[in-house]
Symmetry: C2
Subunit: 282 residues, 2 copies
């Protein structure tokens, strides 16, 4: 698959059955993580979140150890030096033509290994540029928070711009509340100094890196994070803004539409330092 290594239910493969419900309906989940020198960063958290998502969709969970064996197999046979990206997928398996899951379905397990993306260092040291997407996310509390395979909204949002100097788009929901970036979670520091991130009860993906930053902020920096209903005006008025996901880590925002910040701000820099220490020590 063009430089991508892949396992299907533990067996090297580059194809999946055409009647898999992952393709038919997006009936499944995924997780994206970093493999660094033979070790997956935050593997336990990633698997816990994937398992929780599977439970929400009533997709049988094959067990943490099954995915861990897949990852070991892929990592040991890999010729990649340094960091790579792993994508884990779990679908409800193959089935008939209707939406009702077949009673005898066996889940499909996929692990893909990708080269690490080449982001310039200054995205982290000087910040990125963010734009406001016009597409609004639909609300569905049953799907909110989990990383399911229905990602057309993210695809359409990402297609809104092609300018290479814009790194991410900010998404609001149908009520106009700020939710996330197309591929990242968003945090702000309010004018009063409060660290806030959108509440993801109606839509959005709750990423592992979002959880890590919330835990580090509360535990090490003494900064409790508020999960809040945030507006675009709140982002504009913020004293700092940053984005997180497991691959990018943390990107300070230096520009959002016509609002500029000197990035990274003090709180953002403190969290960047804590993340680097945490990654080195665990």
């Amino acid at each position: 698959v063009g430089g991508v290594l892949a396992l299907l239910n533990g067996v090297p493969s580059d194809a999946i059955g055409m009647t898999d419900r992952g393709l038919m309906y997006g009936d499944g989940l995924f997780a994206t993580m970093v493999l660094s020198e033979g070790r997956v960063l935050n593997l336990g958290l990633h698997l816990d979140k994937l398992a929780a998502g599977a439970l929400r969709l009533s997709i049988p969970w094959p067990g943490h150890e099954v995915f861990m064996a897949d990852i070991d197999q892929l990592a040991s046979g890999s010729s990649h030096a340094g960091k790579t990206v792993l994508k884990l997928m779990l679908t409800r398996g193959s089935g008939g033509r209707g939406y009702a899951p077949p009673v005898d379905a066996c889940v499909t397990r996929i692990v893909l290994q990708y080269p690490f993306p080449l982001y310039p260092e200054y995205f982290q040291s000087r910040g990125v540029r963010l734009r406001l997407c016009s597409m609004r996310l639909g609300r569905n509390p049953l799907l909110a928070g989990i990383k399911h395979l229905n990602r057309l909204e993210q695809v359409l949002a990402r297609m809104e711009w092609s300018a290479p100097d814009i790194q991410e788009g900010l998404l609001c929901d149908t009520e106009g509340l700020v939710i996330e970036g197309t591929m990242s979670n968003v945090f702000i520091v309010s004018p009063a100094g409060v660290l806030q991130t959108p509440l993801l009860s109606q839509c959005g993906v709750s990423g592992v890196q979002r959880t890590c930053v919330m835990q580090l902020a509360a535990g090490c920096a003494g900064l409790a994070v508020q999960e809040s209903q945030l507006s675009v005006d709140d982002v504009m008025a913020a004293s700092e803004v940053f984005l997180t996901n497991s691959v990018i880590g943390l990107w300070p925002v230096r520009q959002f539409e016509d609002r500029h910040w000197s990035a990274p701000g003090m709180v953002t820099q403190r969290l960047l330092n804590l993340l680097q220490t945490a990654e080195r020590d665990t």
Copy 2:
């Protein structure tokens, strides 16, 4: 694929590349139609709708004649007697790990042939039982109306019941407006005798059979169909209710929750007759 015949980009196959964006993100569309004695019912309408959906998602359309050649190939090599079901899929093709479509992507074209489902004759002659689903559809006008591959909402809604005497579930959106069934469109005849079907500007799938019924009603029966904002109370108060899709055709509703009708009602029966004539004559 267990009794299913399949073509991938015109070539017999039962598998698809693991990095196809159809699987990764549900980044594609589908259409379901009936092949009856070598002829696809409403093929032109189905391909027109699929092409319109592709345009909406900015997925290049391979051309009606390309899909028609696939169908001819599958139909001529088929040992199925009588009716079968065809499912056409179009995805944005294989690509990298991010949401942004690769510039060099080639679309993936899939045609699957399934046995015709065995529905009892009395579903049509005496009507079906409908329940109200608790899951609410998220609203997104960019995705409304088209049959894209993001169908987790339908899967979750269909999982709400397993009672075999309930044939379909009615779905409302987050505003509480009635939209559709999990696999069908819905029509009502109001107490004043007006034929109505939900407006699908915010969510829902506008099926080919919905269009056919609207055209037949207006053209042959002199019954203009109103596309309206309908509530559950409107359905309860209706004098007739029926469901449509390309495979079931038209099912009168004899029960919705604790509301009963003697089905089919007069308008429903007239449309059933018109559909049968249209299917025979075209």
